[in-house]
Amino acid sequence: MSTAIVGSAAFAEAGDPGAALREAARRARRRRTGLLWLCRVLVPVVVLGSWQWLTEIGVVDKFFFGQPSGVWQSLVDLFTQGTAFGSIWTNLGVTVTEAVYGFLLGMASGIVLGLLLGQNRFLSDVLSPYIKLLNSIPRIILGSIFIVAFGLGTFPKMLLAAVLVFFIVFFNAFQGVREVDPNLVANVKVLGASPMQVARHVTIPSALTWIIASLHTAFGFAIIGALVAEVLGAQHGIGLIITQAQGQFDMDTVFASMLLVGVVTLIAEFVLSLVERRLLSWRPPSRSESQPT
């Protein structure tokens, strides 16, 4: 209440008595950010430090659990000496390509089918038992089938990634359509909207929030799909490097590969957040900033 009065008085005078208020807010924010980053840096220092120390003194066996310095060495080796299956960049490229194509394919089919079935009750009643059935199949078995059917190339990996992504995006798109505000639909119908216009102006934008929210999780699953399929049988890829290292009890390389995959996922997350922020800019901020009216 009092901030609103101070704020409007500031506008009325067109000077800045509000500057002090803004300055205080900025200082508080900076203090919090500083503390936040300090703690963020401390977490890995403590975790990695104790891991290194415990394996060093032998409480934990580095043969089974690896060691941070060993992981670092493996990383360096991976980039300088490459792997038995070509350079690390080739392998990383293969895995990322499989994941990205699988992601795009799964996303596109999930969105199209979700929107379609969400809007057509009859079609969804016809197909829903089969979708439930497909969804209940353990995906790893699908991976085996794809590899037997399509060989050791990149296609079956992409397909498994797509299947994992599909179900997540599909269910979100479907639910998004079902949760459309009936008032909004009634409103545009009264204004004379055709069914296509209802879909374009109401159903799809409203389902989009659900779909976009699901894409974060979905990309993680695309990576998992690609990796699992590579573990099941491949000629290139991070999954192959991991199985090979596992066979040689080379835990450091397993951890190093894991780290690489983590970095890829983080980059994808970042890109997706940018897309999300751009597409959902109309949404209220989660912690609403005071907005005197």
Partner: protein, 279 residues
């Protein structure tokens, strides 16, 4: 849908609404028929402002649903401008109690939606929407999103969005029900002045008798279980009525209100007794 102009007869001409023997039955979840409204009959003259008042659940929204063409009656008929309502009718605008604004569209985008749906070019739609936003006192807010507005401002946007098509008929279902008293009075005054300029026929639903008497030419009292029109009261307060907050204290206003309240009170009590015994 065939017309590109929403109001072929041009502004300033509301259409007559004739409702005859309108009955609507629903199936309850148990599968039994439930009569929400029965034999509702009344006429709204072109350009007339009619308010329907009745206890909650008596079938006011159901009646409006049949008039808008969003729903089909079980029996009886509705005609708008002489044409029977069969599906959504051109030239009708609807204002709901809940905000029916697109949260992902800006204020301007929300107001533009009506003309755009009717195939108006984007540039003219923008121009028209800007003019309407000035008219409802929201110039300068074109680029805001609905969540950045107060409840009263959101109502103004809804009002601009409903009136931009210059409807022959304006259907309002408790549009100001969620507003605080002061904002409500301001919005009512504004609605009256806009209605005076455009003169659509208005069917205004409310449970607030005060509001009904202040705004309408005629107040219909609806009874519950099943809903039907019990009585009609002509409101002969002079127009233009000016500030809604001021006419409330006039002697004739209070007289009319007391007279209608005597009828309404029985209905409210009866409806309450029904729900209490059902529970």
């Amino acid at each position: 849908m065939a017309e590109t102009t929403p109001n072929p007869t041009g502004p300033g001409t509301g259409a007559r609404i004739e409702i005859t023997g309108l009955t609507k039955r629903f199936l309850t979840p148990k599968g039994e028929p439930f009569t929400a409204i029965q034999d509702v009959t009344f006429t709204v003259q072109p350009g007339e402002f009619v308010a329907i008042v009745g206890p909650t659940g008596c079938g006011k929204s159901t009646t409006l649903g049949q008039v808008s063409g969003l729903d089909r009656p079980s029996a009886g008929s509705v005609t708008v401008g002489g044409r029977p309502v069969d599906g959504v009718t051109a030239g009708v605008s609807f204002m709901f109690q809940a905000d029916a604004l697109f949260p992902w569209k800006t204020v301007l985008g929300n107001v533009m939606i009506g003309p755009s749906l009717h195939g108006m070019s984007k540039r003219s739609a923008v121009e028209l929407a800007r003019a309407w936003l000035r008219r409802v006192g929201l110039a300068g807010f074109e680029d805001r999103y609905p969540h950045q507005l107060s409840g009263g401002m959101r109502k103004r946007v809804s009002m601009a969005a409903a009136l931009i098509n210059e409807p022959r008929i304006l259907l309002m279902d408790e549009p100001f029900g969620a507003l605080d008293v002061q904002t409500k009075a301001i919005m009512q005054t504004e609605l009256l002045s806009l209605w005076d300029q455009l003169r659509p026929s208005v069917l205004f639903i409310t449970h607030d008798l005060d509001e009904a008497v202040a705004l309408a030419d005629r107040v219909l009292i609806m009874t519950s279980g099943p809903g039907t029109i019990k009585r009609s009261f002509a409101i002969d307060l002079p127009r233009p009525r000016g500030e809604v907050q001021e006419i409330r204290h006039e002697a004739h206003f209070l007289e009319l209100e007391n007279e209608i309240w005597a009828t309404l009170k029985d209905e409210v009590e009866r409806a309450y007794a029904q729900t209490a015994s059902a529970a």
